[in-house]
């Protein structure tokens, strides 16, 4: 495969590129879903191809082909240069690539049980069938379960001289129960609305104990139909770690993408409220807010050895004691703010152009606990498991809904509440964070469906998080 990638790079250079890189990807993928004891969907996919980037002057070009032959690879390299020349018809300022060491390396994540090769498809399907039977048996009309598995091989060659191959195995699963009332539905998911995914093997799914949690979510979905509405109020809000992962993803992770900050995503994903001039001085949140982007965490979904520009995975401080100190960047964006590349540029396939993506953007643990937060709260609401998510194009104004909530009164959990929502403005919300749970409750949540770019790419991101408490939050927005 290195030979094909090298042929593509050489063709792009021969066609006039000053820099070129080629990435070959071969991805095996499986998704399976069951509803009410029936396997409704099983798709197995093998995608392969070569994607080539060429830089001419300050203009990029990209071309790809699914054909893994030297002829096709060379043609893609030549076309990438042709596309770069076309880009120069609407040119930008001179472009500098952040230096990166020339690397010859091979990397793979660890797994105990390869989800495709070490267990049979019957074990995977039986689990989904049995879990949905257990949920439906507890009395809800709709019981669903699904898993997804990726096995990715990548070969990267750059005109700088790097040659890197990586093998990444990822998987995860989700189950949910839906109760249907007269005018609305109520759903409970486990372990979260998007499931739990990681750069691990099938042991991750086994550890989730889907069967053991099936009856509970069925009972909670039914109980939610009878629960009172979350009241409209401004109150103390405690968030569970799954909802915290979504809060981090939307109101920190996307806001700190340097391509957004620089306006490169202005027309679609949007920009950011952050100004690079304030890097190092802006207050993002309270002193308890410590956020890192760490692509080296074993097992987390946003982990890898090298990004798709051949830059080594790194752990980068993003918010330190409440002050904004870092961004997510790549080789062409980082120099524009005087930084080196953070190694955060990835594509979702050979046919996709690499762009800045979140790695594992997470909240570092504090010294409290969920139990302590509840005990310390005279009046408030505890919410968990994301249900809806919406945030403006500058990543400031958000409104999130959760599947379930409980009132908190005099230091104890009270009655269950349905349709909980909360809203706020990012930095004001984070500034109100006054309690953060400790390392015992730190979970590496994985989000396997982060959309960005045009054409849309689906990224895999990780969000280590813990429960946290916020004050003066508007809840019950309808």
């Amino acid at each position: 495969m290195f030979d094909l990638a090298t042929a593509a790079v050489e063709a792009a250079l021969a066609a006039g590129a000053s820099y070129a890189d080629a990435r070959i990807m071969v991805v095996r993928y499986e998704s399976m879903s069951a509803k009410n004891s029936v396997i409704e969907g099983l798709t197995q996919t093998e995608t392969a191809g070569v994607g080539v980037r060429a830089l001419i002057g300050s203009s990029w070009g990209f071309d790809s082909t699914p054909e893994l032959t030297a002829t096709a690879a060379r043609r893609a390299g030549e076309r990438a240069a042709t596309v770069a020349r076309a880009s120069a018809r609407v040119p930008g300022p001179p472009l500098e690539l952040a230096p990166t060491p020339v690397v010859h390396a091979s990397w793979s994540n660890d797994w105990e049980v390869h989800p495709l090769d070490d267990i049979g498809i019957s074990e995977r399907s039986d689990l989904l069938v049995n879990v949905t039977a257990a949920i439906a048996g507890a009395g809800v009309p709709l019981a669903q379960a699904s898993h997804q598995i990726w096995d990715t091989d990548k070969w990267f060659v750059s005109s700088d001289g790097s040659r890197i191959d990586q093998h990444i195995v990822e998987c995860g699963a989700v189950i949910d129960a839906t109760a249907i009332g007269d005018g609305e539905t109520q759903r409970r998911s486990y372990p979260g609305v998007r499931g739990q995914f990681g750069t691990r093997g099938w042991e991750l799914v086994r550890e989730l104990d889907l069967l053991g949690n099936a009856p509970r979510i069925a009972e909670e979905a039914q109980a939610l139909l009878r629960a009172p509405q979350c009241p409209e109020a401004t109150t103390t809000l405690i968030l569970g770690s799954e909802q915290m992962a979504l809060q981090i993803h939307e109101s920190v992770g996307h806001a700190i993408e340097l391509d957004r900050i620089l306006g490169w995503e202005a027309a679609f994903a949007g920009t950011s409220w952050l100004d690079p001039a304030q890097l190092g001085s802006l207050r993002y949140g309270s002193d308890l807010m410590n956020i890192t982007a760490d692509a080296t965490l074993p097992g987390a979904l946003g982990s890898f050895g090298f990004d798709d520009e051949g830059v080594p995975a790194q752990a980068v401080d993003i918010v330190k004691n409440g002050t904004w100190v870092g961004v997510l960047s790549g080789r062409d964006s980082a120099p524009l703010v005087g930084m080196s590349s953070g190694g955060m540029v990835r594509a979702d396939g050979a046919a996709s152009l690499p762009m800045v993506r979140m790695t594992n953007v997470g909240l570092l643990p504090g010294d409290s606990s969920l139990a302590e937060m509840i005990a310390a709260t005279e009046e408030g609401i505890y919410m968990d498991t994301n249900r809806s998510w919406s945030i403006d194009d500058k990543r400031l104004n958000f409104q999130f809904g959760c599947e379930i909530a409980w009132e908190v009164k005099n230091g104890e959990l009270g009655q269950m509440l349905r349709n909980p929502t909360y809203t706020g403005i990012g930095p004001r919300f984070w500034a109100s964070m006054d309690m953060v749970a400790g390392a015992d409750e730190w979970v590496f949540w994985g989000t396997a469906n982060c959309g960005k770019g045009q054409p849309m790419q689906i990224g895999h991101t990780g969000h280590p998080s813990v429960p946290a408490r916020f004050t003066n939050v508007r809840v019950g927005v309808r």
Binding site: P66, W264, E265, S390, D392, K394, Q454
Partner: protein, 456 residues
Amino acid sequence: MTWDAAGDPTAQAGLDLCDRVLDLVGGRAEALVTHSRGRSALTRFANSRIHQNMDGDVEQVRLRVGVSGGGSAQATTTRVDDDGLTRLVEGALAAARLLPDDPSSPGLAGVAPLPVVDHFDAPTADTTPDSRADIVADFVDTGAGLESAGYCSTSGEVHVLVTTTGVRAASRSTMAQLDAIHRAPATDGPPTDGYGQTTSARVADLDGRRVGEVAAHKAVTGTDPISLSPGNYEVVLEARAVASLLLFPAWLGFNGKAAAEGTSFVHLGEQQFDERIDLWDDATDPRALGRAYDAEGTAKRRVDLVRSGVTVGVVHDRRSAALAGVESTGSSVGSEAFGGYPGDLFLAGGDVPLEALIGNVLRGLLITDFWYTRILDPKTQVITGLTRNGLFLVERGEVVAPVQNLRFTQSVVAGLGPGRVLGLGDDAQLVSNEGGVVHVPSLHLASWSFTGNAQG
């Protein structure tokens, strides 16, 4: 002139490849094979320069097999050599055999006449990177003193489908889009954005200058916006905003599977919408972009969903149709777990120019676009999202001021409910939303609920 797949070498090569796959299946299962091949390109710009520019070949084979005493499995591959196709077939068969028996499987579609559909334009399929860059340049040039961002895309493909039940179908299609904003600097605060778009099967319809002038006008007139308090406002929604709203009824409401399972808002025969609302799905319309057949090989046809405000239909794939005891409407997207989707949705337009819709507003808001709309509950169709790319206050029929973006929380069905639609624009057009492309006009609605502003 009607396209003849028999004379198209790409279609013939695709059909031959599908026949090879069926030969490899060799009668061990009932099978459906599709093959698609084409090119897809997108030229993206920001800060008034082309910063991401991609082109590429696209080829994929999809195989669906169902085995007696087992289940159904679907496999896809981009590897069309002998080894790749053999892995595709043997993998799908092995998976299907190991799955539990599926007695409710609806089986494959039989042979039926297909409508004549040919949403294809050769110049669009052959568009060069230089041509896309020139369209972008025209857009950028209309924004003197402004920053521009967006994309120009072109794609074309030939798609074929073959089944063991005798279906042999072929289709070709193209699509071209210019979708972009101009950004005007503000005296104080972030720039304000103005939006324009064209979606068509023909790249010749992409007029960078015309779209750019629309976007530039919105951006310039949107500077220094005022802040409005949340509350209920009369609104005029431009086509892009209307397209955004229809995603959720289409995805989770008019989906026959959701209706059968009880999670849809749909009540057939009831006046759930205003009498001005007519909604239907129709890939055979010359203005649409879809194929003549769905992912299961069922012929496409017009499916009425709402007629004069009365909900009259939902869309089905074969499994959801069997569940409901009706025929498939040809609305499969290739996932039985999902059900049917109206991929070529039309909302009937009216005869009122946009300016006249605005002229009828006593006090309300003109909304260019919605952003990040997400659903809170499929049964009530309550969604939340934000305005974007141009929000203006209208008083006594005149646009009087730009407004800072607002958050809304509103039931789509209630918002389009009886008595709530005050006017339909004469500007029905193809517009993208997250579910595909819809054909919609501007709408004048009696009320829309805004629940937040920039202050929270």
